[in-house]
Structures are given as structure tokens and as C-alpha cells.
Symmetry: C2
Subunit: 395 residues, 2 copies
């Protein structure tokens, strides 16, 4: 799978609904059909590979993740969950193991949000968290709508994109952070996902000549933005190791070395496991950023792009993950997901849990993203355990 | 002149050697020929309109500026100096005033540097400060070389582009800053141009996931760059009102809201009338920026793009400007040019001075650039005085 969209530095570039993503989807379909699964695609491009159960009327156990990547992404982010799910199905096929309930392996469309500016699209539409029409109208940098891209990639399935009755959903994913590795643990028992708030800031000053404008006459939008970047960092640090606060995108206009910046636009996001804490952080940012702007004679506009509530996972599903790790003798710890995942959307409508495995130095969204094969095997082993527990082994 | 390349918001777009610039050059030529001047063009496109003196063997007094503009520039930046020079020649023609020495009004090619990435090109080649072959190989955003653009605009003259013996050079220009307006002065007696140093900084940290990377594991290139932007501002402020320090361009990679920035590239420029002060500022920036990078685990590379020495103007020419303002009863003050000007190149080979007039709120490189007609008239009156003093009125 990593050969599709492989980059020279060992990562992948497999943007959602690109030619590379289409190739990955075709390979997924072929591999699933080779082991006797029936593959269907919904109107949002989500691919479901069904391994029938002894009782086809029982709601299926869902497992999976996503095959799309960041522009310079790693080989494991998303793909691990899909391919470990495939490995579970292959293991059942090779050992002739039958389950009571069907098992469906899913590849969700556009988890990364790198192309159309919104993440977890396929699972969000499926779980009723995103409006399909509004979402399909999102455009990429070339003005192509998500709807048009779905059609172009052959990803527009006939099945409606909406949640169906499912027993449970389990997603294996790399942690994408350094916590498990630092703690020397092999398995993360993910108890839920932290709350997020995303803001867009526009800061306007006065564009003027860098050589002729004395200090007292400057209204430098970039200097003001620099203070706000450090404010975000300070708010994060004040929350201790659970704190997350990031300015990831920042654009300067006019962006010429000898012109004092007149306008800076930047993103701000905070995340925290507790919503009250998160709200307090966002409020502190609004207050202190407004004071910075006022002191510098700048005009600040803050728009809230979105807010994701904290999403606790299903206690019974989480307990199954804990028990599987124990049974397999794998050192495990509870962890709150710092990243958004398809599982966060799915958890709104289906009992859900996630399994994390460590990745080197916590690196992700990066071509250097790396895990040890034994860690992938551990994660897949836990996934197999919980799937068998939930779907029921026949005989 | 402002009708050529006029923009909807009252400015001009007359990029060097564009169709608009060619039209401006043709109008300049016509206006000069209408009052009996002989116009010649050199190989760098510099246009010289000569009004003969009683003694043609005397080196001419040069006056002028440039007709090209920024992409969204103002009507007065450059054009004021050329058209005030034309007004001087017209006044001499209308009053039948003869001078001992010839007077040459010059329109220098591509002062702005907005198209080919280097400023003050025509005067730089003329004064031997720029290599003609290297300069002509510069390309614009469409890959057109400056040499090809010279030919396409009909601006390739037969006369070699090199300095000839000239008595003096006077350039009237808007201040492009707020100092005269704030001080309530009508005339700036420009004593020289400040020294400049331009750096390019590349700061590398660790690209990683905004949601999963705890504070202690972050190496955020943008947070480090933010400290350096504020360091530039502090160094500027410590130099008082003469200080100039600007980060005008800054680009973040990968530039995604949920990815901790792995790399930031930004420009740094400092300017100061005194070279020793400037060198100390640059040194302080290097030292303190290196400390910021080290503390944050970031890798900083600083490249010096160029350094422009301070250019004092000719004391005798500067004195003439002062005397003219006094004689005309115009409130005047000494000022150091914060911007680069053709006069800075010319001063290397010809006794030179500049005359500044205020502009509203110091705005320039901006469509809203504005001056009062009486200020244009004052500037032209001072220019006429110094030209007559230098060229010698006959009789």
C-alpha cells in the first residue's frame, strides 16, 4: 500500500480522492475480494468490505480507518488500521474461523482534511455529523469540489452515506504522539478524544515602507501576530502536559521584505480532554489577544471555525481493549486521543473504542513517521481479540 | 501621467518596461520635445532630455527620478521628481531663461524593482554599481529577462549606459514616511541615505501533530520565529526613532492548522544612518536569535542577502537645498532617506542631493499615496532654485 504515492523520503502522498487514493481504493477492494469479502461503496466514497457472519441478520462489527494521507504524510497514519483490519480478516479466512456476526472492514473517505480543508469527512457524513450537500461543496486549491472529486475518483457509490445498525467500531491507529513510547507501553487503551476549538484570526495594521516608517508610526500586523503566537504557546504550557495550543498556518500580506506587513491571517487551535478547561483557554486567548491588538493599534477579527466536543468512547468496548492487552501480556496504558479520528464521529452513533500503538518519537503527519513491525503485530493481535469477543467465534 | 496605468482606487500600476511604462516613456519624450529638448535613450533604457546651455561644453546639471511604479503604487512616487523636473524646464522655456550649463532631465529605468526583483536598475547600471549583463539576465514572474523586456518596450537606446561627466544631480521625491508631516515641515533637506542590511533566516524545528504532541515534546519553528520577529522589533526600538527593523516576509511550512510548523523562512532587514550602529544591530540579532534557537532546539541558518553602505550626499549640493528652502521661506528640516533612491547610486559618481516633500500619513507603495498640490509646487520651486544656482542663469 505504501508504494502508492510513495515519496522519495519514505513517506506517502495520497491525497483524498486523488489518482493515488483511487489506486489505493482499488487495491483495497482487490485484497478484500480475494478473501471472499463483498465490497460496497456509499455515496460519500466510504468502502465497506463485508465478511459474512453465521447470522447475517446480526449487526456487523466494524473495524477500519483511512487510506488517504497528508501531502507529505507517513506510511502508517490510517493505513495501519485498514491493513491490520485486513490482516484480521485474512487470519479468519486462513484459519477457517467463522463468527456469529458479520465483520465489516471500512476505509473512510478523506480523514486527513488536507485537500478540502475539513477532516474526517466520510465518517462525519456517515455518522450524520456533517451535512452532505455543504460538505460536497467544499473546494480544493484548484477549485474542484469534493463532490466532483468523488465522481472523478470513481468513489461515488450507490449506497446512501448514512449510518446503519452496527454492533461496535474498533479502530487501530498509531498514537501520533510520544506518550506511549516515553512511558514504555506497547498498547494505548484510548478512552476518548479531547475537545477541540479552531479559530481563524485576521489581524490588520498599516502596510508601509520599511525604510521610512519610524518605530512610533508602525502598526505592524506581523509583530502583533508574533505576540499572539507566543500567547497561544503560553496558554498551552499553563495547562501542563495535557495542554495543546498551536498556530499551524500563518500568512503575511503583502509579504515583501521591505514592506511592513499590513495584514496577517493565522489559525489557532486549542485541544484539551476537558471542555471547561478548553473554553477557559479560548476565552483567555480572546481577551489577551484583544489587548495586544488594542495596544498596537491593530484590528483583530477572530472567527470560530468549529468546536469539537470531547468524545468519550464506549466503556464496554474500552474494557475489551484493556482485557485483550492483558491477555496478550502487552504493557498498556489509558490515553486520551489528541488527534481527531474517524472513530470520534462513529462514536456518536455506534459503541466505539480505539487501540493505539506507539510510533517513533511521536512523529506523524511526516514522511519520517515510523513504527516497529512487532508493534503493528501487537496492535493487530489486540484488534483480532476484540473483534472475536464482539462478533462471537462460532464453535 | 497618472492616467497611464491608473487603478480603480486612485493609484497606478506602471511596472517597469510594461506597456504602461512604454506609454509613460513616450509621453515623457513628447512633453520634453515640445519644449525644445533633445531626448536620448541609453542601453539601459534611461531617458535623458537635454535643454542646451549657453556653453554646451559644460557638464550638465541632472535632475529627475523614475516613472515606473509598484504593482499597486501611488501617483507620486518617482513621477513627482520627473514631472517637477519637466516643470522646471517648462518654466525656463516659458520665461525664456537661459542657463550657462545644459540641464538634463532623466527618467531612470526600473527604480521600483517590483518586476525583476532588484531595485534602482537603470541608475545602478549607469553609475557602475550593477553589472549590466548580470542585471539584464534577471527574470520576471513569467520568465522574461530584463534584457528582453528592454527590447520589447522599445527602451534599448543606442547610447552606452554609463555615467558621463555631470555637474550635479538633484532628485525631488515624496518622503514616503511620516517624519516631515509630523514635524510640520514643508521641505526635507536630505543629507544622505541610511545603510541597510538584508538577511534571510531559515528556522527548522520538528513538524508534528498539533493534537498529540505535548508541550515538552514540541520544537515549533513558528513559535521560535515569533520570538525573533519581536527581537527585530526590540532592536529597532532600542535605536530610537532612527531605528528601522522589519520582518516583511515570512512563510510557514507545512502551513496546516493542525500541524506544528517544522520550518519557517523569513526576511530580516535593518537600516540605520550610521554603519557602525547597523553592524551592531545585525550582530545583536545574530547572537540573540541563535540563543532563542538553541533554547528551543531549533536549527537557525542566517544568510546575508546584501548590505548597502550609508551614502552621504554632497555637502555643497545639500547646502544649496537648505538655502533654497530658506530663501523661499519654506519650513525645512534635515532628514536621512529611509528608502533607496536612484540618487543613492548616482551619488557614487556625481555630486548629489535630494529634496523631500511630505506625503499624507507617510503612506507610499500604496494606491492611497497622496500629497497636496501646494507641496508639489514647493518642491518644484526648490528644485528650480538649486538648478539655477548650479547651472548658472545667463545675464
Amino acid at each position: 500500500m505504501a508504494a502508492i504515492g510513495a515519496t522519495p523520503r519514505g513517506g506517502v502522498r495520497r491525497l483524498a480522492l486523488s489518482a493515488e487514493d483511487a489506486a489505493a481504493r482499488a487495491l483495497f477492494r482487490r485484497w478484500c475480494e480475494e478473501i471472499g469479502c463483498t465490497v460496497r461503496q456509499d455515496a460519500a466514497g466510504n468502502l465497506f468490505a463485508r465478511r459474512e457472519g453465521r447470522d447475517p441478520s446480526r449487526p456487523p462489527v466494524l473495524i477500519g480507518s483511512h487510506l488517504d494521507s497528508q501531502p507529505t504524510g507517513g506510511k502508517f497514519d490510517g493505513a495501519l488500521g485498514v491493513l491490520a483490519g485486513l490482516e484480521v480478516l485474512r487470519t479468519l479466512a486462513e484459519t477457517g474461523t467463522e463468527t456469529e456476526a458479520p465483520i465489516e472492514l471500512v476505509n473512510w473517505t478523506d480523514e486527513e482534511g488536507a485537500r478540502f480543508g475539513r477532516a474526517m469527512i466520510g465518517s462525519g457524513i456517515w455518522a450524520g455529523q456533517l451535512d452532505p450537500a455543504e460538505t460536497e461543496a467544499l473546494t480544493d486549491a484548484e477549485g474542484i469540489t469534493l463532490g466532483a472529486a468523488l465522481n472523478a475518483a470513481g468513489a461515488r457509490g450507490a449506497v446512501p452515506a448514512r449510518a446503519f445498525a452496527a454492533d461496535s467500531y474498533f479502530e487501530l491507529h498509531i498514537e501520533q504522539g510520544p506518550i506511549l513510547e516515553r512511558a514504555g507501553k506497547r498498547i494505548g487503551i484510548v478512552t476518548g478524544a479531547q475537545a477541540q476549538i479552531w479559530l481563524r484570526a485576521t489581524l490588520r495594521g498599516q502596510e508601509s515602507h520599511a525604510g521610512t516608517t519610524p518605530p512610533s508610526a508602525r502598526r505592524d500586523a506581523l509583530a502583533g501576530a508574533a505576540e499572539m503566537v507566543l500567547l497561544v504557546e503560553r496558554i498551552m504550557q499553563d495547562a501542563g502536559e495535557a495542554g495543546r495550543g498551536t498556530v499551524g498556518a500563518l500568512a503575511v500580506a503583502p509579504g515583501s521584505p521591505n514592506v511592513i506587513p499590513g495584514e496577517v491571517r493565522f489559525s489557532v487551535e486549542f485541544r484539551h480532554p476537558e471542555e471547561a478547561q478548553l473554553a477557559a483557554q479560548a476565552e483567555r486567548f480572546r481577551t489577551e489577544a484583544a489587548a495586544i491588538a488594542a495596544r498596537r493599534g491593530l484590528a483583530l477579527v477572530l472567527e470560530e471555525r468549529f468546536r469539537i466536543p470531547a468524545q468519550p468512547f464506549d466503556p464496554a468496548c474500552v474494557a475489551l481493549v484493556r482485557q485483550a492487552a492483558e491477555r496478550l501480556g502487552l504493557p498498556a496504558m489509558e490515553i486520551v486521543s489528541g488527534a481527531g479520528h474517524d472513530a470520534v464521529h462513529v462514536a456518536a452513533v455506534v459503541p466505539t473504542a480505539m487501540i493505539f500503538v506507539p510510533c517513533r518519537e511521536g512523529l506523524s503527519h511526516n514522511e519520517a513517521e515510523s513504527i516497529d513491525p512487532s508493534e503493528a503485530a501487537d496492535g493487530a493481535a489486540v484488534l483480532l481479540e476484540v473483534v472475536l469477543a464482539r462478533a462471537g467465534r462460532v464453535g
